[in-house]
Symmetry: C2
Subunit: 295 residues, 2 copies
């Protein structure tokens, strides 16, 4: 499919799959290095993993860990903004946000290519499972599912657990997003790696990401951590999909890797006119989606 003359030829999206360690400064510096490298490789949008600046804090419930949170704007978003401006790239970063005393969020910032803050997204769907005790730390987001205009395209952001909810992807698409970006921290117990149970989990994850691309006719990017932290091993496998759900690029399951993936935004209109799901949604009949269960 050819791009129309009114759409950019392609936007290059950088996926920074990275490990995270103590101390914070090493992680932030590594992220800044990766942004620089991705920009040198042509990336115009660079996405970091979920909570890239700190070891995943939710493997147990520890009040002391709230001290790792920071305001937005704050020191880490400031450094990301500097990097965005210096390299002329859009940066999607994920922050443990301290909004007010006793009020914390799992939040992503979108920094435009001039370093300005294009938007803030607070994780709407908060998991709570063994080793992922996020409901203890993060207040559910209250900013809805916005899209953000940037120099390199209109972006929607979800964070990790959000990617299991078709509603979130749909709302971001309806808000005009061309690319959905999911900073992610998903993994397994090391014992699950290579088992059928582990493969099933990993397959389900990829299936959901690809399905959002198909159902909504847009690009979807998931950027995961890699490496062992505590009891968890983050499974890498960051990927980018086109509006037909085809995997454009996929990082290894192990190790750090930066992918730079051209996304031809003109495909969005072409795919959506060939697969006109937005045309045929039965918005007159979806009211019960606002209910918990129909019993």
């Amino acid at each position: 499919m050819s791009d129309s003359p009114h759409t950019p030829a392609a936007v290059a999206v950088g996926l920074v799959q990275m490990r995270v360690e103590s101390p914070r400064e090493a992680n932030v510096q590594r992220a800044l290095d990766r942004i620089s490298q991705a920009a040198d490789a042509g990336a115009q949008i660079v996405c970091l993993p979920e909570l890239f600046a700190i070891p995943y804090p939710c493997q147990d419930e520890d009040h002391a860990r709230f001290d790792q949170a920071e305001p937005i704007p704050g020191p880490t978003t400031g450094r990301l903004a500097d990097a965005a401006r210096r390299h002329g790239v859009v940066v999607v970063g994920s922050i443990f946000e301290r909004r007010a005393p006793g009020l914390y969020h799992n939040t992503a910032v979108v920094l435009d290519a001039d370093g300005s803050l294009a938007g803030v997204y607070r994780k709407m769907h908060i998991p709570d499972d063994p080793l992922y005790y996020e409901k203890f730390y993060f207040t559910p987001g209250d900013l809805g599912f916005p899209s953000f205009a940037t120099r390199h395209g209109r972006l929607g952001v979800g964070i990790c657990w959000d990617q299991w909810f078709p509603e979130a992807a749909r709302l971001l698409a309806l808000a005009g997003a061309q690319i959905l970006l999911y900073p992610t921290a998903i993994g397994w117990l090391p014992a699950d790696r290579g088992t059928s149970e582990g493969d099933s989990q990993h397959g389900a994850w990829e299936t959901m990401i690809r399905s959002h691309a198909v159902a909504n006719g847009l690009f979807v990017v998931a950027v995961n951590r890699t490496g062992r932290e505590g009891q968890l091993e983050f499974w890498g496998g960051s990927l980018a999909c086109d509006p037909n759900g085809n995997v454009l690029a996929r990082a290894d399951r192990h190790g750090e890797q930066t992918l730079v993936v051209p996304c031809h935004l003109g495909q969005i209109d072409a795919v959506r006119t060939h697969w006109p799901f937005l045309r045929d949604r039965r918005i007159d009949a979806y009211g019960d989606l606002l209910k918990r269960f129909l019993d």
Copy 2:
């Protein structure tokens, strides 16, 4: 995962992937034979492809073709009911429904194992693409997304194009369905078979079906036609997925085939408690799903 003592050990679902020809009687008889064979092989629920009784009528717009429609209950549903009762199986059949003069639907019936009518579903999402001129023939459904209690489980039915809409699958899950069944007539131009474009379409289709299983933690079955009709070649590939989105069984892309797939309904609760998406849906923030676009 073990079944709880309160859930049936497994329900065997029969997927009848069949070709369709003129005249109607040959198709109906073949479907009845397949139901019998599936029941003999242990099936307790048998699903037929979309509009199994007639050649796919929508490759062009022809007023004469409305004569192929029939009422519900009507002659074909009567014969399906007889088969259901005789074999003690639930039958999901798909009918070109004549509801009133000038008012036609693409409708599925669920016949319980005693032959009674457990439910009627009218296709809610109606496609309209070259060679699939369904909006000419079928009035969009007005019965919503119900589930139907049957002797062998609570079933939700979607029809073909419905399977591209996560909203439909979610609503059927919220209505209590344990198994989603999608009578289907999906194919490609013979020239697309074996091309990357064709593979992309087929992959997108499977991805969506599997994603409904994952997102909703239930079983999903898609039953397609096979064979050439006019300009279309239906691509077979009928499949059944478990609540983790794993493909339990998949028919060949070519040729008729009947699969009988055990579905351990106890997995639904086990999977949903491990992947508690229904717990975390943000029903307070989904209101815009009832809008066409947020511009």
